[in-house]
């Protein structure tokens, strides 16, 4: 297939540009805060899954405890804000740093383990963090509040310094920007030496090791970066909802949902987490809004079904067929299909 033709390239660029413009102008015409909230949560999940993907996708392991790092981010920035008055904009870096240190600390022993053992150890670690937080009321000068959770003190009006806004629009642009940055980081990472080493180690650990790649070291590096970025998302979630509690933000369900989105979208691909979030989040939000009173848990049944079907028929995720369809469409519209055939 000759995909280098200028016409095809122009159409491709124009379509992508149009999509970018569309996404960036949504808040201009969409005024419903409900739908804006759905979109914000969609982007947040796309963001968190993209950071999950750095370990879960590229390093070829299955982390099932990433909610721990979301929680570390949310708790650190909020606790610093409440007790010391530190702006969440600064607190989020502290949370990210703590998450990265914890991630590396836990990653060094666990990332040596094989598939199931790694998944189980991250799960136990995530649950351990939840139990720890639920049993802590007070940590030195900081109030943790155990199972009751914490609320971020509400300040009047828009307060840029305190990361609080009355309208949803600023949150929309913040998370959109964060998503763009993290997608760029993933793209860049997948084109650097550590990224290649990691992909090699994920696919053929023995072969990579035989070629002298220290697979474990790059996995730990990816884990550190992933946890750092995940915690930043945690701070965003805290500022968006202004109230959170351990069962919600540190729960097993949260960790599993991140993994599900990545696996359904396409593990180890750049667009996978976004596609996965785009497909799954609206299902979960809409069934939760309209059907939760009559059919509780329906969205999770749908999740499970989609997950099984994708694994059966498209084990590499839904990005692959979508990409194929998009390329076919490009060929068709630029009139190259006939050329290829003749």
């Amino acid at each position: 297939m000759n995909s280098g033709s200028t016409k095809r390239k122009t159409i491709d660029t124009m379509l992508k540009l149009a999509l970018a413009v569309f996404v960036f102008t949504i808040p201009v015409w969409l005024s419903s805060p409900t739908y804006l909230q759905i979109l914000i949560m969609l982007f947040l999940f796309a963001y968190l899954t993209t950071t999950w993907n750095l370990v879960g996708g590229f390093a070829g392991v299955l982390p099932l405890g990433h909610s721990a790092y979301v929680g570390i981010g949310a708790y650190t920035s909020t606790v610093l804000f409440i007790s010391l008055g530190v702006s969440p904009w600064i607190g989020m870096w502290a949370g990210a740093l703590i998450a990265a240190v914890v991630g590396v600390f836990i990653g060094i022993p666990t990332l040596k383990l094989r598939g199931a053992y790694f998944a189980l150890s991250t799960m136990a670690f995530g649950e351990g963090i939840r139990v720890l937080v639920e049993n802590t009321m007070q940590l030195g000068p900081f109030t943790i509040n155990g199972p009751r959770g914490i609320s971020v003190p509400l300040l009047p009006g828009n307060n840029l310094l305190a990361y609080q806004f009355t309208s949803k629009v600023p949150y929309y642009y913040i998370i959109l920007l964060m998503l763009c940055v993290v997608i760029f980081i993933t793209w860049w990472f997948s084109r650097t030496r550590p990224g290649y080493y990691l992909a090699a180690g994920g696919e053929e650990p023995e072969a990579a090791q035989a070629l002298g790649v220290n697979v474990a070291r790059y996995k730990v590096l990816a884990m550190g970066i992933s946890c750092f970025l995940t915690a930043l998302g945690g701070t965003f979630l805290a500022q968006l909802t202004l109230y959170f509690y351990p069962k919600q933000i540190l729960g097993l369900d949260f960790s599993f949902e991140l993994a599900f989105i990545a696996l359904i979208g396409g593990r180890g691909t750049i667009a996978g987490p976004v596609v996965g979030a785009l497909l799954l989040r609206p299902v979960s939000e809409l069934t939760r809004i309209y059907l939760s009173s009559t059919l509780p848990g329906l969205h999770l049944v749908i999740f499970g079904l989609v997950l099984i079907l994708v694994m059966l028929f498209q084990p590499r995720g839904l990005v692959e067929p979508l990409e194929r369809a998009y390329n076919w469409f490009l060929d068709r519209i630029s009139g190259e299909r006939k050329e290829v055939k003749s």
């Binding site: 666990t110 670690f125 696996l263 049944v301 999740f303 997950l307």
Partner: protein, 294 residues
């Protein structure tokens, strides 16, 4: 002193049904080399089946075993044959197909939430002739349903080990778990072996259901309570080892009954996780596991 012995007895009793709950999980892992994340949901199905049979017929919970065990065996057999087998077929070159973890997680979500939609979220209890019974052995109080559970666990473990060691099917299961390709060459139908292993795993979940209903609540997410616990138990004991699951269960039961003597009982959950991670880091194969599996 007597007080401490009483605590130990309670811990061993509780631990035995943890071990029983984990036994099916470890059997399935031993054969397919994959953690069955739907294990807790299978326990939930077992408990609901036992619950409804006892509630509708008014039988003794142990009499319900006659119905529950075959029903759950068929359930597990069909689950593996219909849902999991296609993945194993497409991933037959991979020693440890991660996709199976994901598919069984999907099964977990479907089963738990279907139960939520059908039965509602309430906690159910069914009065049985065993409920609340205690007996005195010397100076010690023993809860009768827990003692029955302890005996059932030992009998089940014994039968299972005998089955794996001496019957033809048991030998096929062990052969397939050692080397599935070589087993296939020897004329063993590996997918039938998997079906049967899954069926037995589910049947054990049915036994757990009958053991638990005299003293435990039944609700749609009851599997999650046992899920993480079972994962920890099987790794402690060594994945794939039946005696390992039993001893892992007893260890967790003892931790949960002894540590509340020294600290707030909610902290014991954390102790279990810490012990688990420590064992995993120091000896990843667990107490009885084979080294090559981690």
């Amino acid at each position: 002193m007597e007080f401490y012995i009483q605590i130990l007895i309670n811990g061993l009793m509780t631990g035995s049904y943890y071990g029983l709950a984990a036994m099916g999980l470890t059997l399935i892992f031993g054969v397919i080399k994959v953690i069955n994340f739907a294990h807790g949901s299978m326990l939930m199905v077992g408990m609901f089946t036992a619950y409804w049979i006892v509630k509708l017929t008014g039988w003794h919970p142990y009499a319900a075993l006659i119905l529950v065990v075959p029903m759950l065996f068929i359930f597990g057999y069909a689950l593996q044959g219909i849902v999991i087998k296609p993945i194993l077929v497409s991933q037959r070159d991979v020693r440890e197909p991660t996709e199976v973890i994901i598919v069984t997680t999907g099964v977990w979500y479907i089963l738990d939430n279907l139960a939520l939609m059908v039965f509602g979220a309430e906690y159910r209890v069914v009065p049985t002739s065993l409920s609340g019974q205690i007996m005195l052995v010397g100076d010690y109080i023993i809860q009768t349903p827990l003692l029955y559970g302890f005996i059932t666990t030992m009998v089940t473990a014994g039968l299972l080990m005998w089955f794996l060691k001496y019957t033809k099917m048991g030998m096929s299961i062990r052969a397939a778990s050692l080397d599935r390709d070589a087993a296939s060459l020897m004329g063993i139908n590996q997918y039938r072996v998997y079906n049967i292993a899954f069926g037995i795993g589910a049947a054990i979940a049915g036994i757990v259901g009958c053991v638990l209903i005299p003293f435990y609540y039944v609700f749609p997410t009851v599997g999650v309570v046992f899920d993480v616990k079972c994962f920890i138990i099987v790794v402690l004991g060594g994945l794939g080892s039946i005696p390992g699951a039993l001893i892992g269960g007893l260890i967790v039961g003892l931790i949960e009954s002894v540590f509340p003597m020294f600290m707030t009982s909610t902290w014991t959950e954390l102790i279990v996780y810490v012990v688990f991670l420590a064992v995993l880091f120091v000896m990843p194969a667990g107490l009885f596991g084979e080294k090559r599996d981690w």
